[in-house]
Symmetry: C2
Subunit: 180 residues, 2 copies
DNA sequence: CAGGACATGTAATTGGTTACATGATTGC
DNA sequence: GCAATCATGTAACCAATTACATGTCCTG
């Protein structure tokens, strides 16, 4: 699974607690990878057994103690090996498309049009968020020479915007078709 | 889970065997939903218990016997209810984007460029397939009046092509960025 | 005579979600 | 006083993958 590798990649430059990792998944990384806190703690535990990560406990008086995780040498090696291997394609599963095929025959077209309109709004809201992020962090656009970390992060944002724009265009098209 | 509903939708107009369902998943439906034959047979078994489907055995002399499944009234109702409910968004999990963020710092950019080029080829091959399907089955473009079944199937194809075109454009952009 | 199409499954394991659980501090 | 943030987990269950299992017919 790649959740392990997603977590390893988050720890590549600095140590973090499970809580920190969860926050990152809830933030911008959540746009292309997600995990619940339960799963994160479980995965950290198995990676500990595998000796991919180690931790130190940081005691706090006002807040609960925390465990800071960092990569072990073998964890770092695993991450690099994984990143150098071809991606295995994970299957697309899009329940909307199953529903669309029922429109006009087994389910009224109107029902699907409403759903598409709801989705369109959400998509447009998300696009606005992406545009905000772009303005705040990626203007002017970073390059690999000036700032490779920012340049690659910007690419992930660009992935989000360009696929989302395509989805928005399709959603509008689908609404039009069903309204015929 | 929606696998149950994907299968129900396949049985909405005619009875099919598990083998037939598997073939459909391996074909064009596989572009937006997939399942292994093991999972299909297991799911059919649980849907039988739930009384969403029933089957009759068709004996064959030259080939193994087959079980033809069809919807029960409650299975049909479940499908319609499900199709009328809002889609629950399934999390995007894209391991490529995790790898991209490591490029230029922890993994050589060249390694990722190679991977992107490999993916680009696959994407272009798939786009060609989509275009073939379009020419073979959807020319001239069907409308909801003339043929609602074809019109909604065409929408699923359009989803495939427009998101794929966006991915191709992004892949080219990512290669350029990493080549800087 | 080997490999693919036909046709169905079981078993073990991994990955992911949902529900349950605890407990202090800070801000409204 | 109530919700949110901080911080960590366990347990039960559901979904999906991988490995194992069987047996015939047809085609090259």
């Amino acid at each position: 699974m790649s959740l392990k590798h997603a977590i390893l990649s988050m720890l590549v430059d600095c140590e973090k607690s499970g809580y920190d990792i969860n926050k990152e998944f809830s933030g911008t990384i959540g746009y292309y990878w997600s995990a619940s806190h339960q799963q994160i703690y479980k995965t950290l535990a198995t990676m500990l057994e595998q000796d991919w990560v180690s931790f130190r406990t940081v005691e706090q008086t006002d807040k609960p103690d925390k465990k800071f995780y960092q990569l072990t040498p073998s964890g770092r090696q695993e991450l690099i090996d994984w990143a150098s291997k071809p991606c295995k394609e994970s299957p697309d599963r899009n329940e909307l498309l199953i529903k669309i095929r029922l429109a006009g025959t087994h389910v009224p077209a109107e029902v699907l049009i409403n759903e598409l309109q709801r989705l369109l709004e959400k998509q447009q809201q998300r696009l606005a968020i992406y545009q905000d992020i772009k303005q705040q962090f990626f203007e002017p656009a970073p390059t690999m020479q000036s700032n490779p970390q920012m340049a690659t992060s910007y690419l992930t944002l660009r992935y989000g915007t360009s696929t989302l724009e395509a989805k928005i265009a399709w959603t509008k098209e689908a609404i039009k078709t069903l309204q015929q």
